[in-house]
Point group: C2
Chain length 130, copies 2
DNA sequence: CAAACTGTATATATTGCGTATGTACAATAG
DNA sequence: CTATTGTACATACGCAATATATACAGTTTG
């Protein structure tokens, strides 16, 4: 598992860990049962505090994306591809609700909004191809 | 101008003021030149601190949606409908970039994403009709 | 002019979050 | 037993968001 952490970003380290591990799990890059690095090993490797990693793993635990066994480590939970897609959809739904409501109340039409969404997706998929 | 402020929300008071005034201006409900309530009057009316209102107005000033004249008050800036739509589009673009990138990296397809967007818009326009 | 309103500037206090440190305890692997 | 794992707690520091109070500067109104 490869993580890219930076404190140049305004995004907290914990949040970066959660976001990247989460994406790896939901996209299927980390199979169910995969043994995640221990909080101490990851902290050492990424040069962050043990607590920072622990808080990140706690968040993933609450979301039931991983589970832990005392003395053994953290492991990716067993989730079907359908469940993964539903989780990602619900996550997206929650994160888009306020911005979309704001855009509508600022006078944008449904077509305006969809155009912006398509524009962002196009630019992102171009990046991914490169 | 009608504002609905609540401290039950997790959204800061300043932010609520900015968001609502901003929406009123961009949607055309507040015409250019409109004389906004003074910071003291609005603070009294909404039972919030004068500074809270001042900070909110400062944000709107920085975004050039309003301007001020010492001793006279705050006024809605002169902006064309085209400019308003562009501002709203740019605002939406900025607020959607991270969530959409996250969704794609979590394995959702463009169609998955557009479906979620349409779903939210439909539920919101239904509310607005009621 | 004088009073009552405007916006502006500054200093200060409080709160909460992110982050970090240290210590101790519990379970597993070798 | 020893080393490693996860877990729990108390503590502390920095920083940004938030809020309060006070004083200063320009405009309107009577």
């Amino acid at each position: 598992m490869i993580l890219h952490l930076t404190d140049l970003s305004d995004e907290p380290l914990q949040s970066q860990i959660v976001r990247q591990v989460r994406a790896n799990i939901l996209a299927g890059d980390l199979a169910p049962g995969y043994n995640l690095p221990s909080i101490r090993a990851l902290a050492r490797e990424q040069k962050v505090s043990v607590i920072t990693v622990q808080r990140a793993y706690e968040t993933l635990l609450r979301q039931e994306l991983i589970h832990s066994r005392r003395g053994k480590g953290f492991f990716v939970s067993t989730i079907s591809n359908e469940q993964k897609r539903d989780i990602a959809r619900q996550h997206l739904f929650a994160s888009l609700q306020k911005p979309l409501l704001a855009a509508l109340s600022e006078g944008l039409s449904e077509e305006n909004v969809l155009a912006v969404v398509r524009e962002i997706i196009k630019s992102e998929t171009r990046k991914a191809e490169a």
